[in-house]
Amino acid sequence: MVNRPGTNLLGAPGDVRLPPVIRTLVPIAAFFTGLQVFAMTTPPFIMPSMADIGVRYFSIWSSDPGAIISTFIRIIVGLGSAFVVGVSSGVAMGMSSVIRGYGETFVKFLTGIPGLSWVLIAVLWFGNVELRIVFVLFMVLFPWYSLSTMDAVRGIPRDYTDMVKSFRFTRREYTQKLIVPYILPDIVSVSKSNIGYAARIVVVAELVGATSGIGRELLVAQGRFNIVDIFAWTFVLVTVMLSLQAVLLIVERTQLDWRETEA
């Protein structure tokens, strides 16, 4: 990389930058290199080699797909239900000061309850494991959808609302033509965060009483002091999370391509 004095490292004229794919992989490669260096200086029961983890990681996909599928489905159902209820309630609160008056503080209150508390509550409330896990995901994720959506709706400029209103659309048309497209970038943004939260929360929920899933596999690995499996399953979870992020990326590229032409 060429860095002329006084110029910004990011994108200044004359800088020679690596292609985007390489720039994405460099920090990840550095991370794994760091782990490998650490592995070379510690006993394998503390930090196994990347080769051992890699072999186990790839074998999991063919030998234990059921656990991956279980976790994936739970994330989808939990995220999906949180999305539907969260966005709906957020739009309602954004459009109505009355509804907002009743709902906003309560939703904010819910954001203060830790995911672990919901896990413990759910264990006592629900006998059904799947319901328990989806409940936990829902309670952790829906407030963020709700509040982000509410803020996005309230952030629609008065200029836009008056202009669209002046054409005398029905409430449904108004929501469809102005609110939904305007808030879509914010919903995609909060979804990116929520996918990460979902991946972390589902594992905690699965630790307690689940008989399948990545969380359960991590618990079993921990019980056997199998650190290779702990790392491998963790990276499998990260892969699941990244695959969901990739779906969002497709949504962004197809539905939000107009943002690329904005100054």
Binding site: Y160, R168, L178, E262
Partner: protein, 250 residues
């Protein structure tokens, strides 16, 4: 031909953190069907407020506004397809192309996709927008964006057209071009509607309007001046009218 507009003794006050603010006080005027009326005054004299009241997105605090026998705020939805506005900021939706922005008003009416496309194409042709149909607002200049805003208003063939300093933020050359195109459309028979044109520019007011309403701060209508058709060809007479308006605003 256009709906008539009757504004009777309209006052609008707003509640703010520091107390009550009166934006306009006892506005009283009538615009006959098909008339083009300009309203001129300095910033803060209530011009945009009265426009929004006639548009129906604001209600008067006291007084009455009647457009074609109905009240724009109370009978809001009955005016679907009848009132259109062009604002100072184009207010184009970023995620829509120029064509999609222009046809927004037609989507509120019972129209087919092909009708909307044809109508937009017709107005784009008249407004010099051919070739920009698929452009996003971000890709257009200020003048082109305002042309799309004009197309969006004209395309629904409104009975009432409201313009709020529509050319005010453009450079002199662009504003002059757009004003000439606009006058060609409204006076040339392509779109004769009842028009209320808000401006802070006295010359623009005298050029565009059949009659000029003069508003001064704080939100009072102080004069109504009929504009002779030959005014633009008589510089001395034009100067007299200009001085008359200026004297009302001082």
């Amino acid at each position: 031909m256009g709906l008539s507009i009757s504004v009777s003794d309209v006052t609008k006050t707003f509640q703010t953190d520091t107390g009550q603010v009166t934006a306009i006080e006892e506005f009283d005027f009538t615009i006959e069907s098909g008339e083009i009326i300009t309203m001129v005054g300095p910033t803060g004299c209530g011009k945009s407020t009265i426009l929004n009241i006639v548009l129906g997105v604001l209600s008067p605090s006291t007084g009455k506004v009647v457009v074609g026998g109905r009240r724009p705020y109370e009978d809001f939805h009955s005016f679907r397809g009848e009132i259109a506005a062009v604002f100072q900021e184009d207010r184009l939706l970023s995620w829509r192309t120029a064509t999609e922005n222009a046809q927004l008003g037609l989507e509120a009416l019972d129209t087919t996709s092909s009708y909307r496309t044809d109508q937009v194409a017709k107005w784009f042709d008249m407004l010099g927008l051919t070739g920009y149909e698929q452009a996003r607002p971000q890709e257009l200049s200020g003048g082109m964006r305002q042309r799309v805003g004009l197309a969006r208003a004209f395309v629904i063939d409104p009975e009432v057209l409201l313009l709020d300093e529509a050319f005010g933020h453009l450079d002199e050359v662009t504003a002059t071009e757009l004003r000439e195109d606009f006058l060609e459309l409204v006076r040339g028979g392509h779109a004769r509607t009842t028009t209320l044109f808000i401006t802070h520019d006295i010359n623009e007011a005298l050029l565009v309007g059949d009659r000029v309403l003069v508003s001064r701060s704080p939100g009072r209508l102080v004069d109504s001046i009929d504009v002779p058709p030959s005014l633009q060809d008589e510089p001395e007479l034009h100067q007299q009218y200009r001085e008359r308006i200026l004297s009302q605003l001082r």
